[in-house]
């Protein structure tokens, strides 16, 4: 029975074109770089997966491609450039620095610097301009109410 289920399921799996998925073993000296490169490549036919994670046929082809390039002695950058030449920047999860990605890369740090400078200027100006005791009439009244209430409560507690 078990054997039968396995056979049936293997037949079903074969429809997904994954049964023949080769497990690609990379020589240990390349392994670290191989993993790293795959994690920066986008599987183009999947929803949103890296080539390392995807089990699609295309991802499989790309894995073989990366492995072969590594063995031919290509550098990481050469492999990534090759991929983006072939598939466009869409394939790279790490967007390259180009005029049209300046805003993407520099924007956050500009905002940070701008935000902090703005905040500090604000603080400085406040420290100069504001004196304490700027309570409105309404607030003074309310403060008095609250204090009275608190005192009453404390009196009660003492009783």
């Amino acid at each position: 029975m078990n054997k039968f289920v396995v056979l049936v399921l293997m037949a079903i799996l074969s429809q997904f074109n994954v049964v023949s998925a080769e497990i690609i073993s990379v020589a240990p000296e390349y392994e670290q770089r191989y993993k790293h490169i795959l994690s920066e490549l986008r599987c183009l036919v999947c929803q949103n997966q890296t080539v390392a994670e995807s089990s699609s046929g295309l991802a499989n082809d790309l894995r073989i491609e990366v492995k072969e390039m590594l063995e031919r002695g290509a550098t990481d950058q050469e492999i990534l450039t090759f991929m983006s030449d072939r598939y466009g920047d869409f394939v790279l999860y790490n967007p390259p620095i180009k005029p049209r990605t300046f805003l993407l890369w520099i924007g956050p740090f500009l905002l940070l610097v701008g935000g902090i400078i703005f905040a500090l200027i604000l603080v400085k100006r406040r420290a100069k301009n504001i004196t304490d005791n700027q309570l409105s009439e309404h607030e003074k009244q309310r403060l008095k109410d609250l204090l009275d209430e608190k005192n009453n409560q404390e009196d009660k507690n003492k009783e």
Partner: protein, 661 residues
């Protein structure tokens, strides 16, 4: 019949939402108490009818009523009952119904727990929540009616997406939605403050616990989503900087900023208009998140229901809410008083910088998430913005925040000498750096600069958080006992400590798991030994099993460490009977210091399989840390002063009193 009752209840809820948004508002304007009180009644009624509607839909699922289109699309007679129930929010229409139910639940909660508030304030708050309710119930009815009939009825349902058949997905969406929608309360309070022009520290004390609780829900929701991804996607990751994850992370960051800014507004009655702006922003980002996920403009592994036509409605609604509230803000925010004085080095400034960092982090994620869309819209070549970008930009932004986290809680309000801070903290600085260097070397005999910095930051966060509270006990009066000194510590402070420790624990988990994880992806014959991180994995056999609504191949993997058996794991490859796509169900052994994680790849031949094994050190700390953050938030929200305040106000309000507007 039940489906029609459900739909009818939805329409009644809409009518009640309309009443809730108009009558109390007029009442508040005219100072008419009976009109104002309509808000409470309508809010309770809206909740009741949405609950009826929700129960009806659930009933349709449980009874396999495939004459309802939504049920036929997302359920199946073979589906286990608990997944039939969670299938109610498994796709767009039902999750929207859950969204409005959550919204009305918050409205109902406000109407119950805020009896102590001035009547005009509560009237305005509930009116604003009613308006949001109208928007979303109308959206449900017009574009995404879950009760639509299918004629002729289907014989069998098309089943729930197999990816969603997981315990994590049963509770993840409700939590996440409670968080998203929970910010509507803080939002409504902000709008009410703008409308009435009253923003005193009492207002903050009403608004603050609501913001905290919403933040707690969102924290748990996000953590569950990540936990689900880890367990279900089958490749051992826990956060992918995926657009849908980002969509929930943005309101979280702003919510975190809001909680901190509310502290300043409460204690020093300053940062008022900024707090209001953050309240508006947090909810707007929740709406934006809903839009991004529901409209299908983003490509993601998490989104399962999208339709561009619906996107247009939400975008319109978003424009009305954001545009309307910002206009109101621009018009009225200048009227608030400026509050107390403080100097450059003070707790106020540090919390301000905290807010700048959190908001910049949010904008960064926003830019990263939307940049591909902008380029696309401009007709430029497509671009991907993925994890490498976010790690490169996000980490440098968060590091100063963690440093600040150690200093801020000790700093005094108004002014604090730098010397004093330094003399208190230098020990922890040294300890943190020392631990950062030693820990990775001691445990893994290896380290990098980033790992050292990360662990140092985590140690710093935990140690300083402990110090904030422990010094109150150590430096107590000679006469007070330890227990008494402890009981005197405000819960808000304990909560803060626990949440900050949680962040430290979280960072520890993230740093260790990203630095020292190991994995192998290989093909193995049955009985062949594979070594990874000191463990030996042997795939003994693969057997076929029959699940409730799926068939699976289950591998038995024996794990040993130096010939001592550790565990037997059972990863599965499932084929769900109806939808027929293969699903990977990893076998995981969870441990405090490491997870062992195996998943089956594809069969090569009769006795050889593709096989993925992962060694994930400290990964559970990621979720333990988030859990601590949530607990801290909850503890803070339960602080005595919020309860005392409601009692005091209840007394005052028992005599009907009116406040000048």
């Amino acid at each position: 019949m039940v489906a029609e009752i459900g739909q009818f209840a939805l329409v009644i809820a809409l009518c009640l939402a309309v009443a809730q948004s108009i009558i109390p508002l007029i009442g508040a304007h005219r100072n008419n108490l009976s009109w104002m009180s309509v808000g409470r009644t309508a809010a309770s009624g809206q909740f009741l009818f949405l609950l009826i509607s929700f129960v009806c839909l659930t009933y349709c699922f449980v009874t396999n009523d495939f004459s309802v289109l939504y049920v036929a699309n997302n359920s199946n007679t073979k589906l286990p009952v608990y997944y039939q129930i969670s299938a109610v929010w498994g796709a767009h229409e039902g999750s929207l119904l859950l969204w409005v139910l959550a919204l009305s639940a918050w409205g109902f909660a406000v109407s119950i727990f805020s009896r102590a508030l001035p009547a005009d304030m509560i009237a305005r708050v509930l009116a604003v929540m009613g308006m949001i309710g109208i928007g979303f119930i109308l959206f449900t009815l017009l574009t995404s009616n879950p009760f639509e009939r299918l004629f002729p009825a289907a014989v069998e349902g098309r089943d729930l997406n197999p990816l969603l058949q997981d315990p994590g997905l049963v509770i993840h969406p409700p939590m996440l939605y409670m968080g998203y929608v929970g910010f509507s309360v803080a939002f409504a309070f902000a709008i009410a403050a703008l409308l009435s022009g009253k923003l005193d520290s009492a207002w903050v004390r009403w608004s603050r616990p609501w913001a905290s609780v919403a933040w707690v829900f969102l924290t748990i929701g996000i953590a569950l989503g990540s936990w689900w991804a880890y367990h279900e996607l089958g490749w051992g990751g826990w956060w992918f900087w995926d657009p849908v994850e980002n969509a929930s992370f943005m309101p979280w960051l702003v919510g975190t900023a809001l909680i901190h800014s509310l502290t300043v507004t409460e204690k020093r009655s300053t940062f008022k208009s900024w707090t209001i702006l953050l309240s508006i922003l947090a909810f707007s980002l929740s709406l934006l998140g809903t839009f991004l996920v529901r409209s299908g403009v983003l490509v993601s592994v998490h989104s399962f229901a999208s339709d561009p036509a619906r996107g247009v409605y939400i975008l319109g609604f978003l424009a009305v809410v954001v545009g309307g509230s910002l206009t109101l803000y621009a018009w009225r925010a200048t009227q608030f008083t400026v509050g107390g004085r403080f100097e450059l080095v003070s707790k106020e400034t540090m919390l301000l910088i905290n807010n700048v960092l959190l908001v910049v982090a949010m904008i960064t994620i926003l830019i990263g998430t939307l940049y591909p869309l902008f380029l696309d819209a401009l007709g430029l070549p497509k671009l991907s913005v993925g994890p490498p970008y976010f790690s490169a930009v996000f980490v440098p932004l968060m590091l100063p925040l963690v440093v600040l986290m150690g200093i801020g809680p000790i700093a005094k309000w108004r002014r604090v000498p730098v010397k004093e801070l330094f003399s208190q903290l230098k020990v922890f600085l040294l300890l943190g750096v020392a631990l950062g260097i030693i820990l990775p070397l001691a445990i893994y005999r290896d380290t990098t600069v980033m790992t050292t910095i990360g662990i140092a930051a985590a140690a710093w966060a935990i140690l300083t958080a402990l110090y904030v509270v422990l010094r109150l006990i150590v430096k107590r009066d000679g006469s007070t006992s330890i227990g008494k000194a402890y009981s005197k510590i405000p819960r808000a402070m304990l909560g803060m400590m626990i949440a900050h420790i949680g962040i430290g624990v979280f960072i520890l988990g993230v740093v260790f798991t990203s630095a020292f994880s190991d994995q192998k992806e290989i093909s193995v014959k049955f009985g062949e030994e594979v070594g990874l991180a000191g463990y030996t994995f042997v795939l003994e056999k693969v057997t076929g099993i029959q699940g409730a609504n799926y068939q699976a191949m289950r591998g038995s993997v024996n794990v040993t460490k130096q010939a001592v058996p550790v565990v037997t794991l059972y990863p599965e490859k499932r084929i769900y009977t109806v939808q027929r796509n293969p699903m990977t169900e990893p076998g995981i052994q969870t441990g405090v210091f490491r997870d062992l994680y195996v998943s089956l790849g594809e069969p090569i031949n009769d006795n050889e399989w593709g096989f993925r094994i992962y060694y994930r050190p400290f990964i559970q700390w990621v979720w333990i840390g988030t859990l601590l953050m949530a607990m801290g938030g909850l503890l803070g929200a339960m602080d005595k002063r919020y309860r005392n305040l409601s009692k005091a106000n209840a007394k005052r309000n028992s005599v009907p009193h009116t406040t000048p507007t």
